[in-house]
C-alpha cells in the first residue's frame, strides 16, 4: 500500500507526504507550544466551567497561517440571511470543517479534522487518521465512533437522509474502525472522487453526527426512541431524528442548538421558522490555532439578520451594518450603489471569481418527445447556427455594462482544464455564417422566419425562471430579438421553479436556461459537458439511463455520450489525480466536438463587501458552491482591527 | 308702519317686511319668502296657513335662524321682545352667535313635524330633554332629570320615569310628539313655534295633541306660532290666522273675521273647498282651485296668485297689491280691494 499525498482535485500533482503540509505551514507543527485563548473564555476557565485551553485543543492542533497577520480577539460578524430558508449562507460561513478541505486556491486537498490519510492503490480503501483529542463543541471527545454512526444512520433505509457517496447504491461503502482515531472507508469498486467529495461543502455530513446525542433518537442505541418520538409529537423516529440531527433536509440543519458540531462557531440562536436572527458564538473546543498558538476563531460572535427583504439587506450593507457578505446583495445592478457607498458605510469591495463558466446557457432538449424537434436540436449545425446568430458583445454591453467576454460552456481560464477553442468556438456574431449553418441544418427560410424542413413553422420556447436571476429576462429578451433578426422565432416562457423542475422528466420542453456551473469545479460538476446528472436538462433521459434514476423515462444515449459516460465512470474509479485529469480532458474533447449546450458570456468578476476594519480577508476569492466561498478562506482567522 | 294688531298687549315678536332668499351655485337666487309681516302676542296663537312650499316653514325657521347655509334674510326685521327685556332684531344676529343660542330653546322653542326623525335615534328621550335644561338653566343632571320627568308627566306621558330612559323608536307617534312638546317647554319659553306638529299623526291623536297644546299655552301663557296646511286645525286652535301663498301673506287677521269674510280670492277659494255638512240633496260639488302652484321661479312680479285667480285683471300680474286694511286687524293683499275693479262688487 503506497502513501497517497495531499494533492488531488482538479490540478494534477505528484505524491507528497502529509508532513509536506507542515512545510506549507498548513499541517502539524506548533508542538510543545503555549496556547492562548479569547478573553471572553477566561472567566469560564477561571470559574472551572471550561477546562484550560491546552486541554480543549487536540494534541496537535491545526496551525493555519493567517492571510495577513496574527489578529485580535473579539467582535461580532454581522451578515444577513434571505428569509428563513437561506441556510446556504451559514454553510458558506461556518460549516466547512470536514475530514479534509481545499486550500485557498481550490487546488489541493489539505488536512482538517483528519491529519492524514492513505489511499490504497486500487483506490478502493481510504484510511484516515483523526487528530488526537478532538472534541465536539460540548467538550465530548470526537472519535471514529461518531463517524461510524453517521455512516450507519445515512445508510439506514428507514432514514431518508442522503449523503452522496455514503449511501450511493452504485458503489456501496463500509467502514472499518482500527482505533478511536483511525478508520478506513472501503468501497466495492474503486472510487477516485471521494476525497473531492469529502473536501467539498457536502463533506461535513460524515463528521456532523454526535453519537451520544443523536444516538438517543435511534432505535438501535435507544430502544425507547420510537416512544420518545411519538411522545414529542413526531410520526416515527426518523422525523424526530431529522428534527434534532438534521442532515437530510437543508432547512433544518441549523434549527437545533443542542446538536454538537465541530465548527469554529456554535449555534446559540437557531434558524427556526419564526426566527428574526441567527446567532453563533465561538466554539471553545475549536481545533485550530494561529502560528503564535492563539486558538481560532478570532471573532467572538456571528449575527445573521433573517430578512425577507433584499432591499433591507442592501441598506444594511450601505449603512455599514454588515461586516462581510456577498450572497444576495452583491449583484451587478447594485455595484455602483455599493461603490458610491463605501465612504459612508466604511466598507470596501473585494473581488470574487465566480466558478460559473457562463452568465446564461441555453440547453436545447436533445430528448424532446417530438421527433422532429429532437432531430433538429440534436443537429450540431443547428446549434452552431443559433450560436453565431447571438450578438454576445451587445448583451454584455447592455446587461453587464461591458463586464465579461463571449464564452461557451467551458472550463474557465483559471481552471487547469481551460481550452480556449472549447471556450470560444462559434461565439463570434456572424449572421451570414448563422444563416449558412441553419440552412445546412435543413431549415427553410420563407418570409420572416425559418421553418422546419417540411415547411411546418418552427418556434422554440425557452423556459426560464424570473425569480432566480433578474438579468436572465433581459438577456433572453435581447436573444429573442437577435434570433428573430436571424429568422428564428423564439418565445420566452417565464415559469415557476417547481414547474421548471417538474417538466424535466416529461421531455416536452424545447429548451431551458441556467448558469454555467462547472467552470472551475470541472470534474465535480460536469453536468453540461456530458449527461452527468439530473441537472443535465439538455439530455435528461440520457442521464437517467446513466444514473439509473427515474428509469421510466431513461433512454439509451447516442454513442459519443455513452463514450463520455464510460470515461467518467472510469474517472470516478481512478485513484490517481493525473489519470483523472487526463480522462476529464478526453470527455471535454468530445464535448468540444459535439457542442451540446450554447453559452453566452463568461461572468465578469463578482465582488464582496467587507468592513474596512475586517482584516485577513483574501482580496480575491474563487467563488463556487462545492467550494463554499468564503469558508475556504478561513473566516475563523478574520479579525476586527481595534 | 303702524302695527295692525290690536294694541291690547305689547307684541312679543314682530316680523316686519321680511324677505328670505335661497342662493344656489349655478342658478339665480330664489326668493322663497317675499314680504312677510307678522305679529305675535303672549297667550295668543297665530296660525300660518298655506300649501306646502309656500314658505311658511321657512318663515318659522327664520325666527330661530335655523335656515340652511344657502338661505339669507335679505330684507326686513324680526323684532323679539321678551318680557322685561329690551328688543333684539333676530334678523341681525349671527345664526351660531351666543345671543341667538340664548334665545333658542330658552325663550323661543320649536316643535317639528315628524317626531320620529326630529328626535335623535341614539339618545334617550330623557337625555335629549335634560340636555336643554342643563344648558340653559345650569341644573345638575339629577335635578334636570327630575324636571324632565315632571314635564313628561305634564304632557301626559304615562310612566314618565321609565319613559325618560326610552329611545324614540320605542314610543308611539303620539307619545313621541308629546315628548317633543315636553322638550320644547323644558325652559318655559315665551314663544312656541309648532311646525305642523300634528300632520304626521292620526286624527284622534291630532285632537289630543291640539288640546294639550292649548292647555299648556294657557298654563304657560306663551305665544304660539302654529304652522299648518289644515284649515280644520286652524279653526280649532287659532286666535289669528295668516294665509300664505307662494311666499306672500295674502290675508291675515282674526280667525273669525277671516273665515267669515275672506277678502282675498285665494282665501275664498280655500274656504270654498272645505266640505260642509249638509243633506245629500243640498250638497254641491267641491270646487278645487284650478291649475297648479307655479314654482317660486316663475312667480309673477305682481300678485303671486294671478295665474290661478278667477278675477285676475291688468295690474295683477305686474304690480304687487298693497296691504289693505279690510277690518279690525284684518288685512289682505289684492288689487280688487284698492282699485274698484268691475268684479269688485260681485266679490264683496
Amino acid at each position: 500500500m503506497m502513501k497517497q499525498g495531499l494533492r488531488s482535485g482538479p490540478r494534477a500533482g505528484h505524491l507528497v507526504t502529509a508532513t509536506f503540509a507542515a512545510i506549507l505551514g498548513l499541517g502539524t507543527s506548533a508542538l510543545a507550544q503555549e496556547y492562548s485563548q479569547a478573553p471572553m473564555l477566561d472567566d469560564l476557565v477561571a470559574s472551572g466551567e471550561l477546562p484550560p485551553v491546552e486541554e480543549r485543543l487536540p494534541a496537535n492542533p491545526l496551525v493555519v497561517e493567517p492571510v495577513e497577520s496574527v489578529g485580535q480577539y473579539g467582535g461580532t460578524w454581522r451578515s444577513g440571511l434571505r428569509g428563513g430558508g437561506d441556510n446556504a449562507w451559514i454553510g458558506r460561513t461556518i460549516a466547512y470543517d470536514g475530514l479534509v478541505r481545499y486550500d485557498r486556491n481550490w487546488d489541493q486537498i489539505i488536512p482538517n479534522i483528519a491529519e492524514s490519510w492513505e489511499v490504497s492503490d486500487d483506490a478502493r480503501s481510504y484510511t484516515f487518521e483523526l487528530r488526537e483529542g478532538l472534541k465536539w463543541n460540548n467538550g465530548e471527545p470526537f472519535t471514529t465512533e461518531d463517524i461510524a454512526f453517521a455512516i450507519e444512520l445515512m445508510q439506514d433505509e428507514a432514514y431518508p437522509g442522503s449523503a452522496g457517496f455514503i449511501d450511493n447504491p452504485q458503489n456501496p461503502v463500509s467502514i472499518e474502525i482500527e482505533d478511536e482515531n483511525t478508520f478506513t472507508l472501503v468501497f466495492e469498486q474503486p472510487n477516485g472522487t471521494v476525497l473531492d467529495e469529502l473536501a467539498s461543502v457536502n463533506g461535513i455530513t460524515i463528521v456532523s453526527l454526535n453519537k451520544n446525542y443523536c444516538g438517543q433518537f435511534y432505535p438501535k442505541y435507544n430502544p425507547d426512541a420510537e416512544a420518545l418520538a411519538t411522545e414529542m409529537g413526531f410520526e416515527g423516529w426518523a422525523l424526530l431524528m431529522e428534527n434534532k440531527c438534521a442532515w437530510a433536509i437543508e432547512q433544518e440543519r441549523w434549527a437545533n442548538p443542542d446538536l454538537p458540531m465541530m465548527n469554529a462557531w456554535m449555534l446559540t440562536e437557531p434558524l427556526t421558522g419564526d426566527a428574526t436572527r441567527v446567532v453563533f458564538e465561538r466554539n471553545p473546543y475549536y481545533f485550530k490555532v494561529d502560528p503564535e498558538g492563539n486558538q481560532y476563531p478570532y471573532i467572538d460572535r456571528l449575527e445573521m439578520r433573517v430578512s425577507e427583504s433584499l432591499e433591507e439587506l442592501t441598506l444594511m450593507a450601505l449603512n455599514g451594518e454588515i461586516d462581510f457578505q456577498d450572497r444576495h446583495i452583491a449583484t451587478t445592478i447594485n455595484r455602483p450603489l455599493f461603490f458610491d457607498g463605501q465612504e459612508q458605510g466604511d466598507y470596501r469591495l473585494g473581488s470574487n471569481v465566480l466558478s460559473n463558466s457562463n452568465t446564461l446557457l441555453i440547453q436545447l432538449n436533445f430528448n424532446h418527445v417530438d421527433e422532429a424537434k429532437r432531430e433538429l436540436f440534436q443537429n450540431k449545425d443547428f446549434r452552431i447556427g443559433l450560436s453565431h446568430a447571438i450578438d454576445r458583445q451587445e448583451i454584455i454591453d447592455v446587461v453587464f455594462t461591458g463586464q465579461g467576454e463571449p464564452f461557451q460552456v467551458a472550463p474557465r481560464p483559471e481552471s487547469p482544464f481551460y481550452d480556449e477553442e472549447l471556450a470560444k468556438q462559434y461565439t463570434e456574431y456572424d449572421p451570414e455564417l448563422a444563416a449558412e449553418y441553419l440552412e445546412k441544418a435543413g431549415l427553410v427560410r420563407n418570409g420572416e422566419f425559418y421553418t422546419m424542413p417540411d415547411g411546418s413553422p418552427l418556434t422554440i420556447t425557452i423556459d426560464t425562471i424570473a425569480a432566480f436571476r433578474a438579468e436572465w429576462v433581459d438577456m433572453l429578451e435581447l436573444i429573442q430579438l437577435q434570433l428573430a433578426a436571424a429568422g428564428i422565432n423564439v418565445e420566452i416562457n417565464t415559469i415557476d421553479r417547481t414547474l421548471f423542475y417538474d417538466k424535466r422528466p416529461l421531455g416536452e420542453y424545447d429548451a431551458q436556461v441556467w448558469q454555467g456551473d462547472g467552470g472551475l469545479d470541472v470534474i465535480q460538476e460536469p453536468r453540461y459537458y456530458f449527461p452527468a446528472n439530473g441537472e443535465s436538462v439538455w439530455a435528461f433521459r440520457w442521464q437517467a439511463w446513466y444514473n439509473g434514476t427515474t428509469p421510466e423515462v431513461a433512454e439509451e444515449p447516442v454513442d459519443w455520450a455513452k463514450e463520455q459516460m464510460d470515461l467518467y465512470t472510469q474517472l470516478r474509479q481512478e485513484g490517481d489525480p493525473e489519470a483523472r485529469a487526463a480522462l476529464m480532458k478526453q470527455i471535454l474533447a468530445i464535448t468540444k466536438e459535439q457542442f451540446p449546450v450554447i453559452g453566452v458570456s463568461m461572468p465578469g468578476p463578482g465582488y464582496y463587501i467587507a468592513k474596512n476594519n475586517l482584516r485577513n480577508v483574501a482580496d480575491n476569492m474563487l467563488h463556487g458552491w462545492l467550494f463554499p466561498t468564503p469558508a475556504p478562506y478561513d473566516p475563523f482567522q478574520w479579525y476586527f482591527e481595534q | 308702519m303702524t302695527p295692525l294688531t290690536p294694541m291690547a298687549d305689547r307684541p312679543l315678536l314682530t316680523i316686519e317686511d321680511v324677505e328670505i332668499a335661497f342662493s344656489s351655485p349655478d342658478e339665480a337666487d330664489i326668493v322663497a319668502v317675499r314680504q312677510v309681516d307678522l305679529t305675535l302676542t303672549p297667550g295668543k296663537t297665530l296660525c300660518l296657513v298655506g300649501e306646502s312650499g309656500c314658505g311658511k316653514s321657512v318663515t318659522a325657521r327664520a325666527v330661530l335662524r335655523l335656515l340652511d347655509h344657502n338661505a339669507t334674510i335679505s330684507r326686513g326685521r324680526i323684532l323679539f321682545t321678551p318680557p322685561g327685556e329690551e328688543t333684539v332684531d333676530i334678523a341681525t344676529l349671527k345664526p351660531d352667535s351666543l345671543a341667538m343660542r340664548k334665545i333658542r330653546g330658552n325663550k323661543v322653542s320649536m316643535i317639528f313635524q315628524e317626531p320620529m326623525s326630529s328626535l335623535s335615534p341614539v339618545h334617550t328621550i330623557g337625555d335629549q330633554i335634560d340636555e336643554m335644561i342643563i344648558l340653559h338653566e345650569g341644573l345638575k343632571p339629577k335635578q334636570a332629570r327630575e324636571r324632565t320627568v315632571s314635564l313628561l308627566d305634564q304632557v301626559g306621558i304615562p310612566g314618565p320615569r321609565e319613559r325618560a330612559d326610552a329611545y324614540p323608536f320605542q314610543l308611539s307617534g303620539g307619545l313621541r310628539q308629546r315628548a317633543m312638546i315636553a322638550m320644547a317647554l323644558a325652559c318655559t319659553p315665551n314663544l312656541l313655534i309648532a311646525d305642523e306638529p300634528t300632520t304626521a299623526l292620526d286624527v284622534t291623536t291630532q285632537a289630543q295633541i291640539l288640546d294639550l297644546l292649548k292647555k299648556l299655552q294657557d298654563d304657560y301663557g306663551m305665544a304660539m306660532l302654529f304652522i299648518t296646511h289644515d284649515l280644520g286645525v286652524v279653526a280649532e286652535i287659532a286666535d289669528d290666522v295668516a294665509v300664505m301663498y307662494l311666499g306672500d301673506v295674502v290675508e291675515q287677521g282674526n280667525v273669525f273675521d277671516v273665515f267669515r269674510a275672506p277678502r282675498h280670492p285665494y282665501t275664498q277659494a280655500l274656504l270654498r273647498s272645505i266640505p260642509t255638512m249638509a243633506r245629500k240633496a243640498d250638497r254641491q260639488r267641491l270646487s278645487p282651485i284650478k291649475g297648479t302652484v307655479p314654482s317660486a321661479k316663475d312667480r309673477p312680479e305682481g300678485c303671486a296668485f294671478t295665474s290661478r285667480c278667477p278675477y285676475a285683471f291688468e295690474p295683477c300680474a305686474g304690480i304687487r297689491p298693497e296691504r289693505t286694511r279690510v277690518g279690525e286687524g284684518h288685512t289682505a293683499r289684492c288689487h280688487l280691494l284698492t282699485q274698484n275693479a268691475p268684479v269688485a262688487e260681485a266679490m264683496a
Binding site: 455595484r335 454591453d397 447592455v398 446587461v399 424570473a466 415557476d496 | 351655485p25 300649501e51
Partner: protein
C-alpha cells in the same frame, strides 16, 4: 282636510317629471364637483393614450440601445436661438455626453447642450397596426436622424425609452382595470340584482357568500389562485386569468351596491305599478329598475377600477400575475423596485406617479358621479 289634495296633480305626471329632472339634476350636481370634472378629462386622456399607444410612443416597448442604459431624462425644449440670436420655435432635446466607469460599473450621462436633436412630428416608422387593426406607419413624434437618442423621461437599465414603455404599459394596466370591472359588474349586477329583487332566502344566501368572500384576506386568495394558473399559458391568457381572479373578489362590492338599490327600489310605486301590469320580473329589472340606478352602478364601477389597477401592481410586485417581458405599470414598477433605482435612476419610478394620478382621478370621478347619482344624499 289638506290643501295639497285640492290642486290637481296626476301621479303619473309627477313620476315623469322626477325622472327627467333626475338626469338633469345629476349632471348639474356632477358639474358642481369641479375636481370630478377635471378627473373625468384626465381619465379620458389616459384611456386615449392606452388606445393610441403605438401611435403616441416614439419607440416600441422593447426597443433597447446598449449605449444609453440608465440615461437620464432629456426633457423637451421648445424654443431655441439661432446663430443671430433670435428666438425660433421647434421642439428639440439635447444629446448626451457619456462616459463609462469600469470600476463602479456605471455609465454617467451629462446633458450635452451643444448637441440639439430636433423632434419632428408624424415621423415615418415601421408599419404597425394601431389598436391592433388599423395599419399605420407614422408616429406622433420622434427624431429624424437615425440612432439619435430620444429619452424624454430617461432610459431604463437596457436603454429602453421609459416614456414609450410607460405609454405601452398604460394599455395593459388600464384595460385590466376595465375588463376586471366589467366582469365584476356582470356578476355583481346579476347576483346582486336578483338577491335584492327577490330577497328572502336567496338574498340571505348571497349575503352570506359575499360576507364570506370579503372575510378572506385577498392576497392569499390571489396568491393561491395565481399559483394555480396553468404555466404553459400565454401571457395573454395569464392576463385575462388575472383579471378574472381580481374580479372574483371585486364583484362583491358591486353586488352589495346593486342589492342595496334594489331593496330601496323594490317598494317604489313605479315598480309596484309595473308588477300590477303583470310585467315579467326580467322586464321589470331591466326596463324599470336598472335604468333608475344606472348612475349608481357607474359610480360604483368607477370606484372599483383603481382597486383593480393597484391589485395588478401588487401581484406583479409579489412576482405573481404579469411578468416581464409583458409591459404593464405593475411590471415596470417591479423592475424599479430596488434601492439602486431610487438612488441613481429615480425617474424609473414615474410609472408609480402615473398610477397615483390615475387612481386619484378615478376616485374623484367616482365620488363625483356618486354624489351626483342621488342628489338627495346617498
Amino acid at each position: 282636510m289638506a290643501i295639497d289634495a285640492l290642486t290637481q296633480q296626476p301621479a303619473l305626471l309627477r313620476v315623469k317629471r322626477s325622472r327627467e329632472s333626475q338626469s338633469a339634476l345629476m349632471w348639474r350636481r356632477f358639474r358642481q364637483h369641479h375636481l370630478a370634472v377635471w378627473s373625468l378629462w384626465i381619465v379620458v386622456a389616459f384611456y386615449l393614450v392606452a388606445l393610441l399607444a403605438e401611435f403616441l410612443a416614439p419607440l416600441g416597448p422593447g426597443d433597447y440601445n446598449p449605449r444609453y442604459t440608465y440615461a437620464a431624462p432629456q426633457g423637451i425644449h421648445f424654443f431655441s436661438t439661432d446663430e443671430n440670436g433670435n428666438w425660433q420655435f421647434g421642439p428639440y432635446v439635447y444629446g448626451y455626453k457619456t462616459e463609462i466607469d469600469p470600476v463602479a460599473l456605471r455609465r454617467t450621462f451629462v446633458i450635452d447642450e451643444e448637441v440639439k436633436i430636433p423632434i419632428a412630428f408624424f415621423v415615418p416608422s415601421e408599419p404597425y397596426r394601431l389598436a391592433g387593426f388599423i395599419p399605420m406607419s407614422i408616429k406622433l413624434f420622434g427624431v429624424t436622424e437615425p440612432r439619435a437618442p430620444l429619452y424624454v423621461l430617461g432610459a431604463d437599465r437596457l436603454g429602453r425609452d421609459l416614456l414609450s414603455r410607460l405609454i405601452h404599459g398604460t394599455r395593459i394596466s388600464l384595460s385590466i382595470g376595465l375588463v376586471g370591472v366589467v366582469m365584476s359588474l356582470f356578476f355583481g349586477v346579476i347576483i346582486g340584482g336578483f338577491s335584492g329583487y327577490y330577497g328572502g332566502w336567496f338574498d340571505g344566501a348571497v349575503q352570506r357568500v359575499i360576507e364570506f368572500i370579503r372575510s378572506l384576506p385577498t392576497i392569499p386568495l390571489w396568491l393561491g389562485l395565481a399559483a394555480a394558473l396553468p404555466r404553459d399559458w400565454s401571457s395573454l391568457q395569464i392576463y385575462f386569468a388575472i383579471t378574472i381572479i381580481l374580479s372574483l373578489v371585486g364583484w362583491t362590492e358591486l353586488a352589495r351596491v346593486v342589492r342595496g338599490r334594489f331593496l330601496a327600489l323594490r317598494t317604489e310605486d313605479f315598480v309596484t305599478a309595473a308588477q300590477l301590469d303583470g310585467a315579467s320580473d326580467w322586464r321589470i329589472i331591466t326596463k324599470h329598475m336598472v335604468p333608475s340606478f344606472m348612475s349608481h352602478i357607474i359610480a360604483a364601477a368607477t370606484l372599483a377600477v383603481p382597486g383593480m389597477i393597484l391589485a395588478e401592481t401588487a401581484l406583479s410586485f409579489l412576482g405573481l400575475g404579469l411578468q416581464a417581458p409583458i409591459v404593464s405599470w405593475g411590471t415596470l414598477m417591479q423592475e424599479a423596485q430596488n434601492i439602486r433605482t431610487l438612488a441613481s435612476a429615480p425617474w424609473l419610478l414615474l410609472p408609480g406617479v402615473a398610477v397615483v394620478v390615475v387612481i386619484l382621478a378615478l376616485n374623484f370621478l367616482g365620488d363625483g358621479l356618486r354624489d351626483a347619482a342621488d342628489p338627495h344624499g346617498r
